[in-house]
Symmetry: none
Subunit: 85 residues, 2 copies
DNA sequence: ATTGATTTGTTCGTATGTATT
DNA sequence: TAATACATACGAACAAATCAA
């Protein structure tokens, strides 16, 4: 997954949704660490500020929580919407 | 040798070139250790991140190699360009 | 075997300046 | 003007490995 600088959606949101997709796909379980800022810098070829904004955005969405000097982790499932049918 | 924060060249590159000059001057021989990160912090009055960037830059240039938990050392001379005259 | 100092590795937090749209 | 994004730099904390006493 890469990032498109010429898209309507800001790069930091693109990154946030890419990570979110991995979470939803079960590739990163609750309480597990998401990629560090510098990892995102390398993986997506963006500046660190942008990676930070992506994390801040994910935090804002309630998807993750950050522990200073430790990392950012996937949030506990809040209260699952019951699977349909 | 000190560092100029108002120069065009980034501080980390300035430090890298200062160390390189010492290597070229024979003050630090191949296989010998260059100053540690915390030494550079003290000597140049910069943050450790900046010292680390200087080392990373030198590594990138092929001037040095780093052994984790041991230090950073001057690279072996590749293939000397024959001394002129 | 233990302790303490040293050294690199890694992480998030913060600030400034610049450029582009 | 405001939002986005990049580069640089300092700060703080902790981990882990090495080495010497």
């Amino acid at each position: 997954m890469t990032v498109d600088h010429d898209a309507d959606v800001p790069v930091y949101q693109q990154i946030a949704h890419i990570i979110k997709a991995r979470i939803d796909a079960g590739q990163i379980a609750p309480r597990r660490r998401i990629p560090s800022e510098s990892t995102m810098v390398q993986e997506f070829g963006v500046a660190r500020v942008t990676a930070r904004r992506a994390v801040a955005y994910m935090r804002q969405q309630g998807w993750v929580y950050t522990v200073p000097q430790r990392g950012t982790f996937v949030s506990e499932p809040e209260d699952e919407e019951p699977a349909g049918s």
